[in-house]
């Protein structure tokens, strides 16, 4: 059974295996397919039109399924690997071990944002940015520049306290847990972390930075935490909503999985701590 661990608690061997599996997916071309898929949805999801991966109730089950697919791809390379999560409300400094050279590498240099150390630095020769909107082929970051602070634990708590999963109009204007977690409204959790990292993480091609998976694994854990706090609150809407994935509608691009199939993560993995 897959156990997703806090990245801060990984052993050196676990870090090494995770990095090696990610690099192998990159080498084989599989990795970039995930970047392409994510960008296609981020461009296609609109507030007044069809919306599936973002700015909609299915933001959470869509990313849960997307991460599962990525994790399964990693496990085909190394069956011992699980996705770690990054609790950015605790590990909120650029000096966190997350950004050390033995894991994801650090922030970019000021000249051009280029990441200069770690296994994903362009100089390694193993991490060319192929799915991109401009000519730059190197991984970039600017940790803590565009926005100074990552969300605090108190801000996370304020969102976890929201009892309603989502609300009409089921988009970036909604009140409720999903949109506050996604960040289009309120204290801004998920979106702000993308902006804090900067570089490709701030773009539609954000999975170009491996921290994408650790960020979303924590967003996914916060959904699980929310479910435990609000056992009487379910996924909404449940039926008949134009342009929106209802509880029992199938989701693109897989077309064989519904939000209803993804509400219970324990069928696929557990977390190291509640």
């Amino acid at each position: 059974m897959t156990v997703r661990k806090n990245q801060a608690l990984l052993t050196a061997d676990e870090k090494r295996r995770f990095v090696a599996a990610v690099l192998e997916l990159k080498r084989s071309g599989r990795y970039d397919e995930f970047v392409t898929t994510h960008n296609a949805f981020i461009i296609g999801d609109t507030d007044n039109g069809e919306r599936t991966g973002h700015r909609s109730p299915s933001f959470l089950p869509w990313h849960r399924r997307f991460l599962l697919e990525f994790e399964q791809a990693l496990q085909k390379v190394d069956a011992s690997v699980a996705l770690p999560y990054w609790d950015w409300s605790t590990d909120r400094s650029i000096r966190s071990s997350l950004w050390a050279p033995d894991f994801l590498g650090g922030t970019g240099r000021s000249l051009d944002g280029r990441v200069m150390d770690g296994p994903f630095a362009a100089s390694s020769g193993n991490w060319t940015i192929n799915v991109r909107v401009d000519g730059r082929t190197f991984l970039r970051r600017s940790l803590g520049t565009a926005v100074r602070e990552l969300p605090t634990r108190a801000e996370v708590e304020s969102v976890l306290a929201m009892p309603t999963y989502d609300m009409a109009p089921w988009n970036s204007a909604s009140d409720g847990f999903r949109n506050h977690l996604e960040g289009w409204r309120g204290v801004n959790l998920h979106n702000r972390v993308h902006v804090w990292v900067g570089g490709q993480m701030a773009t539609g091609m954000s999975p170009n930075d491996p921290v994408f998976w650790l960020h979303h694994a924590y967003i996914d854990k916060l959904w699980a935490d929310w479910q435990r706090r609000h056992p009487g609150s379910g996924y909404v809407p449940t039926a008949g909503t134009p342009n929106v994935v209802d509880l029992n509608d199938t989701m693109k691009p897989w077309n064989d999985v519904r939000p209803a199939d993804l509400l219970d993560h324990t069928a696929h993995y557990t977390f190291d701590a509640a």
């Binding site: 960008n39 296609a40 981020i42 461009i43 296609g44 609109t46 507030d47 007044n48 039109g49 700015r55 051009d112 944002g113 991109r132 909107v133 401009d134 000519g135 730059r136 565009a146 109009p169 988009n171 970036s172 204007a173 960040g183 289009w184 998920h190 979106n191 702000r192 993308h194 902006v195 701030a202 773009t203 539609g204 091609m205 954000s206």
Partner: protein, 136 residues
């Protein structure tokens, strides 16, 4: 000089703009350029439900940024009804329900106007050339 021709095209009649646009836009961006340019005073067809922001055209940090309302038909503007270009290459932008804007290079950070999104993109690009987004 393509830049000057293009500028004239933007302010000319729609038919003229169409012809000039095909001649002056690089081949890669021609496929995504709107077939009908509209003046700032002309609301884009099919978007009567909300007012499109006015056109703009300026040089920001040494780069030409332009924006204009477009008709929704035949192009992938995903309901924005508005196209933004950096040095003639289209930048994918999107309007949020609250009226704020994002672009594909700053997708998690809404700003107030499409011009602000274009400027944010120039800041983000640090001089790099924008690639046309794939027609998906």
């Amino acid at each position: 000089m393509p830049e000057l021709n293009r500028r004239r095209a933007l302010t000319a009649a729609a038919a003229l703009a169409t012809a000039a646009g095909v001649q002056t836009i690089a081949a890669t961006s021609a496929s995504t350029a709107p077939s009908t340019a509209t003046t700032p005073s002309a609301p884009a067809a099919g978007h009567a439900d909300h007012h499109s922001p006015a056109s703009f055209d300026e040089v920001y940090h040494g780069r030409r940024i332009q924006g204009r309302p477009v008709s929704g038909g035949g192009h992938q503007h995903h309901g924005a009804g508005y196209a933004v270009f950096v040095d003639g290459v289209e930048l994918h932008v999107m309007r949020n329900a609250d009226g704020s804007w994002i672009s594909v290079v700053s997708h998690y950070d809404p700003v107030a106007t499409p011009r602000a999104a274009a400027r944010a993109a120039v800041d983000e690009l640090q001089g790099a050339a924008l690639l046309p987004f794939p027609a998906n």
